[in-house]
Symmetry: C2
Subunit: 163 residues, 2 copies
DNA sequence: CGGGAAATGTTATAATGTTTCATTATTTCC
DNA sequence: GGAAATAATGAAACATTATAACATTTCCCG
């Protein structure tokens, strides 16, 4: 049997964070975008886990680190990170998650476990093709796609009692 | 060339509303669900157009009709309507739209025009199949799917200057 | 170094959604 | 029909998420 995706298994998550930060630094340098201290800090916080983090959770984490900030600061940082494809907003949760395909130009599909709340981001070309086709049939010009699937991850299926 | 979908064209919209209300009444009767005055009123308001309506918009419309109501009233009505598949919540807009496939047990796909804000609901089995397949590959047990496509509807494509 | 753009700080407020408890309506069952 | 149980609504307060507006600082570039 295949192993569960990384996001759903225990793993050395510091490696995830470091990789994401390194990647972000490179990307921003290439684009002449300024990955300032706050932006980097917010990115690190979002990557603290594979669970989406609300803007006010980020705020609270900043405060825990002794860094006072007001909502606009966090929203601005998140907006920057989104624009550069470093985080995604999960509309169904009003929360943000690190992008695991940063820089790749992709259309993400998110598998959100309702039990452990971990999120796995997939790139599924057949899904995108099918969506494009459906939109095309309706003569609709697609720009952005929000595709979020809620359910149970492999780990939680085995123990879910239906909570 | 095929005509645009109904939602994007001028049409006798009162017919939409009436059909939706009739359909809702029948469905609720079959299910022993109580389509109370408020619920029916909210459903009618949501169907006022093919544009999603926010909960507070519904509230304002109720007020315009002389009917005082507090937020929970509206949220409760919307929740009931959702549970019975009579309206859908559009997560990316925090708003609600009438379901055009009420009672059919379906998984909707929403085409949201960013210019005129009309929404067309589609049922696209190939899309659902592709999503299921992608989730299955990740051993993920899908329950709910949020699939919202933002872009330009046929009508607005011809005149969109990029606003 | 100085001028301009970008980023951040700060305060206030808007928009969206929920909790809680009281009250009223509706069904059920004798 | 009438009492008990259940479902629905009313009402007030509050929690959460997001933005507006304007002042200040930082950074880049010449």
């Amino acid at each position: 049997m295949a192993r569960s995706p990384l996001a759903y298994r225990p793993h050395n998550h510091n490696a995830c964070i470091d990789a994401a930060l390194d990647h972000a630094r490179v990307l921003c340098q290439q684009r002449n975008a300024r990955l300032t201290a706050i932006r980097e800090r917010v990115l690190a916080l979002v990557w603290q886990s594979h669970r989406p983090l609300g803007a006010y959770d980020v705020l609270a984490e900043l405060a825990r680190g002794g860094q006072h900030a007001a909502p606009p600061t966090v929203y601005r940082a998140l907006e920057f990170l989104q624009q550069h494809g470093l985080v995604h907003r999960i509309a169904s949760l009003n929360a943000f998650v690190g992008c695991s395909h940063a820089g790749e130009r992709h259309r993400g599909l998110f598998l959100i476990c309702r039990r452990c709340r971990n999120v796995l981001e997939l790139t599924a070309p057949p899904v995108n093709a099918a969506v494009e086709a459906a939109a095309g049939d309706a003569h609709f010009q697609a720009e952005d796609v929000t595709l979020e699937v809620s359910g149970l991850c492999p780990t939680c299926q085995t123990e879910a009692v239906d909570d």
